[in-house]
């Protein structure tokens, strides 16, 4: 790679040498996505909140240094942006790009906001059915309460 090309790539991924970039998160969702993925133990986390986006108007972006997130985590990320994409970076190179896909049912990520829900009182794992996409709405399979993405709370 020429020094020029390297410089361009460095700019595009804000100097991430190794790591993961999660782009096109719904505006305001980067903090929750970081909460779910966890702060890298050996690297930095960069958050962009309410950035202007041609595609979305506003978007959030999350960059994690020295971390490659798992397929399971990618699936869960769809909760925080149905159009999000995940880019893996090694040595400033994009080695893989994945478009997230929201499954019909989400197991074991979200807490139900209904204080009377059995999942908040007993050893019962939560799962939610996706009832609407963009904006995302889910329904607790237990108490049947609906939640929008800004009500999401992680377990």
């Amino acid at each position: 790679m020429t020094a020029d090309r390297r410089a361009t790539r460095q700019q595009r991924v804000a100097s991430l040498r190794h790591g993961t970039v999660v782009d096109h998160l719904s505006p305001g969702m980067a903090l929750k996505a970081l909460e779910m993925l966890g702060v890298p133990s050996e690297g930095a986390a960069l958050l962009g909140i309410h950035l202007t986006s041609e595609k979305m108007g506003r978007k959030d972006i999350l960059k994690l240094e020295n971390v490659e997130i798992s397929a399971e985590q990618i699936e869960k990320l769809a909760l925080f942006g149905p159009n999000a994409s995940v880019v893996f970076i090694r040595d400033y190179e994009v080695v893989r790009k994945v478009q997230v896909e929201l499954p019909d049912r989400i197991h074991g990520v979200l807490r139900c906001r209904n204080p009377s829900c059995i999942t908040n009182h007993d050893r019962v794992p939560t799962y939610f059915d996706v009832t609407q996409r963009a904006p995302t709405m889910v329904r607790c399979a237990h108490c049947e309460r609906r939640m929008g993405e800004h009500e999401f709370e992680l377990l």
Partner: protein, 317 residues
């Protein structure tokens, strides 16, 4: 009797064998119609088709009538019942998880009915159990056998549910029986008229669900103006324990007392329903009217539960 079952009835019965009854949401509109047809067939079933089968009735909160209704249904079909009617005597009081309790109890019985104060307990029990589970009421969420017996009562009295205009009056904010029936009727395409004081209107969550189902509904605090246009009037109790401030309760407790004068301008065929127990909402003078259908609801409840117990256990007469 078996030979006269329609293909749709047979197909639904096959699908319900070994299944759970957790929420009225699990049924499609055509399935609800077919299920009510099957319930009608069970009106005349008195043979001990469930002999040797055991119902485990787990009542983590008291509900004497629901429990007696399930037990009656089971016993009338020749089956037996075990269970408890008070969470204080169950292992839950010792901190055992609900899934563990269910796994133990299902080794003692063939089918389980669970009543629990927490919303979603029916689903949690069904997920833990291999055997069929019926939700007998989970907090303020669902009580599907109540909804089915309400639908069956309408069908039995009116000949059909389709096309009827159904009014609900009273506490539409907290009343679980009303919420589930409203949702089921919206799914079936019925027109709904919701009558309540401002403070007890249908909550936003239920309104959204109604709209999502494409329901046709209107709202008014004025009962008298809507009575003449109704086919069914479903009355609910305004519960004192729901009000933080006793004054708020006093303000609304007897705004709608249905008496003979209330229903005098109605259509001849109107039926008045109530999930019972009633307090002041329906004057006893209505009891003798041919329009009163609320005591039939209890009787129909046993027929509905006989049907469900048999279908889930895979026994069709």
């Amino acid at each position: 009797m078996t030979e006269t079952w329609t293909d749709a009835e047979r197909e639904l019965a096959n699908r319900m064998r070994g299944a759970d009854i957790i929420s009225v949401r699990q049924f499609t509109a055509p399935d609800l119609g077919t299920l009510l047809q099957i319930v009608e067939r069970f009106e005349t079933v008195t043979s001990p088709v469930l002999q040797g089968k055991v119902l485990g009735a787990l009542f983590f909160e008291p509900s004497t009538r629901t429990r007696l209704s399930f037990e009656s249904a089971m016993v009338r079909l020749g089956g037996g019942c075990i269970g408890f009617a008070d969470a204080g005597i169950s292992s839950a009081a010792k901190g055992e998880s609900l899934p563990d309790t269910i796994r133990i109890v299902e080794s003692y019985c063939d089918i389980i009915v669970i009543r629990h104060p927490r919303e979603g307990a029916g689903r949690a029990a069904a997920d833990a159990a291999e055997k069929p589970v019926i939700n007998g009421g989970d907090g303020s969420n669902q009580h599907p056998t109540q909804t089915l017996l309400d639908l069956y009562t309408i069908r039995r009295r009116m000949g059909t549910v389709a096309g009827l205009r159904v009014g609900f009056v009273g506490d539409l904010k907290y009343g679980r029986a009303a919420h589930s029936l409203i949702e089921a009727l919206a799914m079936l395409g019925n027109e709904l008229v919701l009558v309540s004081p401002e403070s007890l209107r249908l909550p936003p969550r239920q309104r959204e669900d109604l709209d999502a189902l494409g329901g046709v509904w209107s709202e008014t605090p004025d009962l008298a103006s809507v009575v003449p246009g109704l086919d069914v009037l479903y009355v609910t109790r305004i519960q004192r324990e729901r009000f933080g401030d006793p004054l708020d309760y006093e303000r609304v407790k007897d705004v709608y007392q249905v008496d003979e004068a209330t229903i005098a301008p109605s259509r001849d065929g109107l039926i008045v329903m109530h999930p019972l127990p009633r307090v002041l909402e329906i004057h006893p003078s209505v009891d003798a009217s041919p329009k009163a259908a609320y005591f039939e609801q209890a009787a129909n409840g046993v027929t509905v539960r006989k049907t469900l117990l048999s279908l889930l256990l895979g026994v069709t007469p």
